[in-house]
Point group: D3
Chain length 128, copies 6
Amino acid sequence: MTRYEQGWRKLLEIDGQAGVAVTESLADIAPDLAKYVVEFAFGDIYQRPGLDLRSREIATIAALTALGTATPQLKVHIRGGLNVGLSRQEIVEVIMQMAVYAGFPAALNGLFAAKEVFAQGDEAGPSK
Amino acid sequence: MTRYEQGWRKLLEIDGQAGVAVTESLADIAPDLAKYVVEFAFGDIYQRPGLDLRSREIATIAALTALGTATPQLKVHIRGGLNVGLSRQEIVEVIMQMAVYAGFPAALNGLFAAKEVFAQGDEAGPSK
Amino acid sequence: MTRYEQGWRKLLEIDGQAGVAVTESLADIAPDLAKYVVEFAFGDIYQRPGLDLRSREIATIAALTALGTATPQLKVHIRGGLNVGLSRQEIVEVIMQMAVYAGFPAALNGLFAAKEVFAQGDEAGPSK
Amino acid sequence: MTRYEQGWRKLLEIDGQAGVAVTESLADIAPDLAKYVVEFAFGDIYQRPGLDLRSREIATIAALTALGTATPQLKVHIRGGLNVGLSRQEIVEVIMQMAVYAGFPAALNGLFAAKEVFAQGDEAGPSK
Amino acid sequence: MTRYEQGWRKLLEIDGQAGVAVTESLADIAPDLAKYVVEFAFGDIYQRPGLDLRSREIATIAALTALGTATPQLKVHIRGGLNVGLSRQEIVEVIMQMAVYAGFPAALNGLFAAKEVFAQGDEAGPSK
Amino acid sequence: MTRYEQGWRKLLEIDGQAGVAVTESLADIAPDLAKYVVEFAFGDIYQRPGLDLRSREIATIAALTALGTATPQLKVHIRGGLNVGLSRQEIVEVIMQMAVYAGFPAALNGLFAAKEVFAQGDEAGPSK
């Protein structure tokens, strides 16, 4: 299995359709960046042993909330966190904790992103 | 038990002597901020149910690595991560993953901080 | 008076209805964060003696403009600044000065936020 | 020729109508900041010898992509880059490279900004 | 009086010898940036009516604490704040408040900077 | 030639011995991150056609100056810029320009980094 194939499988497992959409959105402007996302982010990093996917999504949600500059990607990974087994409550706790390290506005804006993602999940019907 | 007492207990459990040192360093300039660290960060946030301490330290290490502006606090929490049961390997994985979300310099500088903390642990003799 | 009551009073004094709206927006996802905003931000910090509210709002407007990641909160505090006695001109001066410390885009985007807040004030009729 | 006149000429050369629009948007709230943009940014900095305009726009596009807090200004300078002779491909390369230094979300969001600017150029008919 | 002369006078009033040192440190690498600091930051911005110097220094100290990337400049402006009449207590309050907007690490690191500046003031003997 | 070999060649061409030192500094803590730096940053990104190395180093120096969180990496790339043909003057211009987009402190701290790198070059004797 190539790095790309490994990465694609991992991307589907974590981000599902939202991850596919990101790669498609790059098709007409920078298809190679989509390739690097698959190969490096998912094929190299997320498939590494030594840290489970649940922990990896906690790390990503925390970082994107703290940075405050990547709302679309934060939403993808809040969905990703649900996909790999985090509960809504756990995700909310991670985001709230960022008030301590990046200030209350970062935590507030992270929660507003989570609210949108959770609402879409509710519309999609029961499951998670 | 007051918020302060709860927070102090939690601070000792997570950050140990390094956490005590932070509060002491504020004694002559802003003792109330030390009080808020204990009461709010540890007494309110870290003692919340709904997310285990291991996951909380993963979130904090990820965020501080990504922000890149808080090296002293990152070091305290790398030590804190070890204290609550993260392995060195898991901490390294969290920091490396930040290359994807905050760039390679953030990951590199986070790893250099971890290297210092681990080296101090080695000098202190076997244990963790 | 509890910390919550003190904080709520202070929140009303500074942010008025916009502050209430923030706490309400958290009700269904993270009501405890709304509680911490009231207790810690307003009950602990803003009620402290040693710095008047006018100066506190200058500090907040400056910081949120410089960070550039918290437009909704910046708008709340521009309104808050007017509420505690800053003039529009003073608020504009604070934001403009951020060009020196955080670059022209930060100052420009801060001014666009101020423009929106001032326009809402104009619609609401004469007063400030 | 005054600093203002020099700056205005340079602003027109680089940013064209989009630059004029920025100064106009400040007219009713902070006309002096528009004056400083013209005088300092364009009259002092961009007119300096020692670095060609192509290189200056590469630097600006890279920095605004990496910061991730200035999307409107990034769009103005992507257009500016085209105006001073950068190809779409070169601009895409600069933005993609930021994945290494500021993370993939910064590069993705920069590319989405570029996509919008390029689409407007396509609508405006053939030329660049 | 030229912009440079006005700016130099203002720089001396606010930052004193520390401001002079900044301009001198640029003499052999980028003397024109020193010129722009004097002309734009001090000659254009700080000399503007509409906001008193005390308020301007509050804004600058708040922003530099929140950004967390400019410790040397923060120290210069903590000294500057004392020079234009802020008390140590007021400066400490401004920095502490940043815990709410930029997180506790930003406030802690800002206070450590203040501690250094105040200690130098103590050594220099009684006065402020 | 593998991605690693291509990347290593490119890393040597751009960063020279300073780049090798970075990879070595990771050997005992996260050798795989050194591998990713070589493979992804240099083997994938820097070897791409479509943008010359001179322009790539301008972009990197601009971004790292603007971010203000990566001084060690900024120094490596200032050296790298000299290695691929940028003059000291051009590097100084790129850094100065960041005053417009990220504020004067970012530009000042970038210039202090450049000063150190240039001084080491002077000690090493004539050449660049």
